[in-house]
């Protein structure tokens, strides 16, 4: 039965645009799916392999810029960025991995956090190459309607989901989890921890970068503060996975759904709209205390939380 869940959900999503949803709802759906991909990418590295990154904006931004710069400098369609971001992000990940993966735990997290910021500041200052704070604008977007964007991102998400599932069921998956649980033990069991951490980082970076390249095409405009920000991308990525469920297949999807909707709802509320980060922070604290494995990971426990006390007998 469980085997059929992903295809059924995919089929339902494919049919969704036919219902005639408003452009706004379609926009939200596109964002949800895009964030699921970013979440899946982060989850591979942070959830399964245990290397928590606070700098995924670096990958997202690199993907977005590799797409945008192709368009800006060479005049070719920014959609090529989806392909171009694969080698760009692989190389970026190798460089980042070489620097950061020799660090463990909190130090790795701090190093990635710094890298995201370094890239933001760099892209702000390389004015000749990146246009700096002016940003990059695609003069004519491919489609006016959201429908095709929806299908493109859905296809990418389905592909990512499939790849991650295949990876996690293979030798790689076992090695990633072994590294997460105990690097020294993994090492002495014949696992080249540096190599496999680097592979996890590359896969994670490429997935996130592809989402970034899509973002460039979809939004038609990027600048350093929209694609490299610490809070709006790096931290939200961590939150998407934490809320949804670390190291679960569906966690990033559920997390993205909740986070995007929540952001929209809070932002549209008069008075507290500007405080959405504060509310996110409170939500994160709640999740860490009560549902440390996220909504998917602690689903049973969550049901228990809402049951009346007597019913637990």
């Amino acid at each position: 039965m469980k085997k059929f869940v992903p295809p059924i959900i995919l089929a339902v999503l494919c049919l969704l645009p036919l219902v005639g949803l408003s452009s706004y709802v379609m926009h939200i759906l596109v964002l949800v799916i895009m964030w699921s991909i970013i979440g899946m990418g982060w989850n591979l590295l942070g959830g399964y392999c245990g290397q928590v990154s606070f700098g995924h904006a670096a990958f997202f931004g690199m993907g977005a810029y590799s797409s945008g710069l192709l368009y800006h400098h060479l005049g070719i369609s920014a959609w090529w960025g989806l392909l171009a971001s694969i080698p760009v992000l692989t190389i970026t990940s190798l460089v980042i991995g070489f620097i950061c993966l020799r660090l463990r735990g909190a130090y790795f997290a701090l190093a990635t956090l710094a890298l995201g910021e370094v890239l933001r500041v760099t892209s702000e200052n390389l004015v000749k190459f990146t246009q700096g704070d002016l940003g990059i604008l695609i003069k004519q977007r491919t489609w006016v309607e959201k429908t095709w964007y929806f299908y493109v991102i859905l296809l990418l998400a389905a592909g990512s989901f499939f790849i991650i599932k295949k990876v996690m069921e293979s030798k790689l998956g076992y090695y990633f989890v072994a590294i997460r649980e105990d690097q020294d033990a993994a090492n002495s069991l014949g696992i080249n921890t540096t190599l496999y951490k680097t592979i996890a980082l590359c896969l994670s970076g490429v997935l996130t970068g592809i989402a970034g390249a899509f973002y460039m095409n979809y939004m038609g405009y990027i600048d350093p503060t929209t694609v490299f920000p610490l809070y709006d991308i790096s931290i939200v990525t961590v939150m998407v996975v934490m809320v949804g469920g670390v190291a679960t297949y569906w966690g990033p999807v559920i997390g993205a759904l909740i986070m995007v909707f929540l952001a929209e709802v809070i932002r549209s509320m008069p008075g507290i709209g500007a405080a959405h980060m504060t509310l996110f922070g409170i939500l994160l604290i709640f999740i860490i205390i009560f549902l440390p494995n996220g909504i998917v990971g602690d689903f049973r426990k969550m049901i228990g939380l809402f049951k009346p006390r007597g019913a637990l007998k």
Binding site: E169, K171, Y174, A178, E181, A185, N187, L189, I191
Partner: protein, 240 residues
């Protein structure tokens, strides 16, 4: 030629000499017991052989090949498996997945790894517990799981670091049987142990370390009568 040769190995941590000029060999097929008072450098020696620490001086040869200065995963690939004194199962994985993760070293695909892993579990009497999450296992079974994981890398030599610590007599006997079975498969074993009963009944030869130096080497019987060894242990007892 000996399977493992330890040649004048010294290891210093800053000013502390954890090991000083330790030399001995382990012959193919034997069980070598490594004993000594607390802090004698037994686990440090394992860490040097296993590749966690490069020796400050000296070298370690496995099948005539120099393995000191290799990484632990390379040493493991060459055929030296190890267990840890503080058991380190991959907590959030099931028992079977734990062993599969290490079985992949010698398997081409998942089916192969699973076969090796199930074999290893049967070998260590953990087959019935294979779908439990390792976090909740009692100590005795976690110790066995450590051995199963190391065994699944199909080693030529196993380093067992205090596999008996904290076990009750019944579990100890079970583990002795398992280790004898491992030996019967032709796997050479070097074991660190504090239980004299275990060491004396299992080992073919015993090496004694004290303050980072080798003070004796011989059959269990010779070791039991060696005045230096008795002094090392009684000295510790007096100051305790």
């Amino acid at each position: 030629m000996s399977l493992l040769q330890i040649r004048e190995v010294s290891k210093r941590f800053g000013g502390l000499a954890a090991l000083t000029d330790v030399s001995y060999s382990v012959e193919k097929g034997e069980i070598l017991g490594l004993i000594g008072p607390n802090g004698a450098g037994k686990t440090t020696l394992f860490n040097v052989v296993n590749g966690f620490y490069p020796p400050t001086k000296g070298e370690v040869l496995f099948r005539g090949k120099r393995i000191s200065h290799l990484q632990p995963y390379q040493v493991c690939k060459l055929g030296v498996g190890r267990t840890f004194q503080v058991v380190r199962p991959l907590q959030r994985m099931t028992v079977l997945d734990n062993v599969i993760a290490s079985a992949f070293l010698r398997a081409k695909d998942k089916a192969g790894a699973e076969r090796i892993a199930l074999d290893a579990l049967q070998f260590t009497d953990l087959y019935d517990d294979r779908s439990l999450v390792s976090k909740g296992l009692p100590l005795g079974k976690r110790k066995k799981l450590e051995i199963a994981r190391a065994f699944a890398t199909q080693p030529e030599m196993l380093l067992l670091d205090e596999s008996f610590a904290g076990l009750n007599p019944f579990e100890q006997n079970e583990l002795i049987d398992i280790i004898r079975k491992v030996k019967a498969k032709g796997i050479t074993i070097m074991i660190i142990e504090h239980h004299m009963k275990v060491i004396m009944s299992l080992s073919d030869r015993v090496v004694v370390l004290s303050y980072g130096e080798k003070i004796a080497e011989g059959t269990p019987k010779e070791i039991g009568n060696n005045p230096l060894v008795i002094e090392a242990y009684l000295g510790e007892a007096e100051s305790a």
